[in-house]
């Protein structure tokens, strides 16, 4: 299915344009009850085989070759069902060699990780706002200076418990924030996805 066709089909399904088949699969039981299953508990001392992190050293077809920070090599298989995040949900062509990533999925017998989710260049910083300019937040992240770029249409702010908004005018110099953003590789700059502030 093309991306457009796929979206059209999913839109209509969500809004009830299509008939529901196999409804008996759930019967009258909500899936949440049907699915309550004991969760897998790993020994925290062992690395999780279903998780990978590192920098992308090569891209071959739909496979990402990743060098972990401990020099481990990961092969990450991106499929049609993999969610890709790079500042926002994105597509495979936005991923570049040199990007950093975190990936979670299922480690297969051939050693590849079939990815459910890939987060590219994602950073999570707690910092103080030291200054502001047009479309830029200057941040102090435990003594390191970080330049946070505001991306119009994407950057969102969450003030306390309010829903996320695009209005950043309540941010204050000197206040602490948490920033979820996309790192620009090999710089001290990030594009801001969400900034959490205690108003």
């Amino acid at each position: 299915m093309s991306s457009l066709g796929r979206r059209r089909f999913l839109s209509s399904a969500a809004l009830g344009g299509a008939a529901v088949v196999g409804a008996t699969a759930f019967g009258s039981v909500a899936p949440e009850q049907a699915l309550a299953s004991p969760s897998l508990e790993l020994d925290p001392a062992l690395p999780d085989p279903n998780f990978a992190e590192g920098r992308i050293s090569a891209i071959t077809g739909s496979m990402l070759m990743v060098t972990g920070s401990d020099r481990t090599l990961h092969r990450i298989h991106v499929t049609d069902g993999t969610s890709l995040w790079k500042l926002r949900p994105t597509t495979f062509d936005a991923i570049k060699v040199g990007d950093g990533l975190y990936a979670r999925g299922l480690k297969l017998d051939d050693g590849t990780l079939a990815a459910d989710s890939v987060w590219v260049n994602i950073v999570n910083l707690t910092a103080h706002i030291t200054a502001m300019e047009r479309d830029v937040l200057h941040l102090d992240h435990h003594g390191d200076r970080v330049v946070g770029h505001v991306v119009a249409g994407t950057t969102a702010a969450v003030y306390n418990d309010t829903p996320a908004v695009s209005d950043l005018s309540l941010l204050q110099v000197g206040k602490h924030v948490q920033v979820i953003g996309a790192w620009r590789p090999d710089t001290n700059e990030v594009d801001i996805a969400t900034v959490f502030a205690a108003a």
């Binding site: 529901v20 039981v29 987060w119 908004v165």
Partner: protein, 270 residues
């Protein structure tokens, strides 16, 4: 006049830094943020920190009280040289440590704390060469202003308020186009009864999102009865009403809707 003014600049700076070390808040915490424990041994950093404060206060008092002696300036110069050496050492052994110069919160040792220490060496050396001539309050103030400008610890008293004022006068981030960000859509999804029903099936983060009219659609990969599936949520864009979020679980390979959640309909009934 220039030289004799430095006597007071150095005296006031040392009184200040010494005072903070002895009488400032949370000296234990401040001492632990430094690299002093590497120099004097673990557990002795607070004693060392306080001792430096005492020396600073003694030299400050000697400088401030007449007569002006060459030896006082010399002692201050030696102390300031010690500071420079310590900062270079601390930066090498523990780059993230605090300078500890004016209590904590100065942040890691950078060009500002290093140039401040070098400036103190210079001012102390000048003080050592001072004669009996009178000091100029203006020169003293100017000298202190330079020290304040170089002190990251004091930024919050002058630099942050200045920046805050500028932002208040004209907020640089005001006037961005008002749009409902994706994060708000995802939040509505997560708050919704629809999400609660299928959260256990979801395998991925947001895979795709698009808007059509007043609806934002958010799709996720899911796994249902050992087959790959997709969950798509429809979220109102013009208001925050998680109760109105709709959802469907679909098999894209067969284009079948396996389950649907509509706020008014009961779950799972076709």
């Amino acid at each position: 006049m220039l030289l004799s003014s430095q006597v007071f600049v150095v005296a006031i700076v040392l009184a200040w830094t010494g005072g903070v070390k002895l009488f400032g808040p949370a000296p234990g915490l401040a001492a632990r943020r430094t690299a002093l424990d590497r120099l004097v041994g673990k557990g002795r950093e607070l004693t060392a920190y306080r001792a430096v404060g005492v020396v600073e206060l003694l030299i400050a008092a000697a400088l401030a009280l007449p007569p002006v002696e060459f030896a006082e300036g010399l002692a201050a110069t030696a102390l300031a040289l010690g500071f420079v050496a310590y900062l270079v050492y601390a930066r090498r052994v523990r780059p993230e440590s605090d300078c500890g110069c004016m209590g904590g919160k100065g942040g890691p040792i950078g060009w500002r704390s290093l140039s401040r220490a070098c400036l103190l060496v210079l001012a102390s050396a000048m003080a050592a060469g001072a004669g009996q001539e009178a000091a100029s309050p203006l020169v003293v103030l100017a000298g202190l202003a330079v020290f304040v400008a170089l002190s990251a610890e004091l930024d919050r008293y002058w630099l942050l308020p200045l920046r805050r004022l500028r932002v208040r006068l004209s907020h640089p981030l005001a006037g961005l186009p008002v749009r409902v960000p994706l994060a708000a859509g995802v939040e509505q999804v997560e708050r919704s009864p629809a999400y609660r029903a299928v959260a256990g099936l979801l395998r991925s983060d947001v895979r795709d999102t698009w808007t059509e009219g007043e609806w934002r659609f958010v799709s996720y990969s899911a796994r249902y009865q050992d087959r790959a599936a997709t969950v798509v949520f429809a979220v109102p864009t013009d208001r925050f009403v998680p109760e109105e979020v709709q959802a469907a679980l679909v098999d894209e390979s067969t284009e079948e809707t396996l389950w649907r959640f509509a706020p008014t309909a009961s779950v799972g009934l076709a």
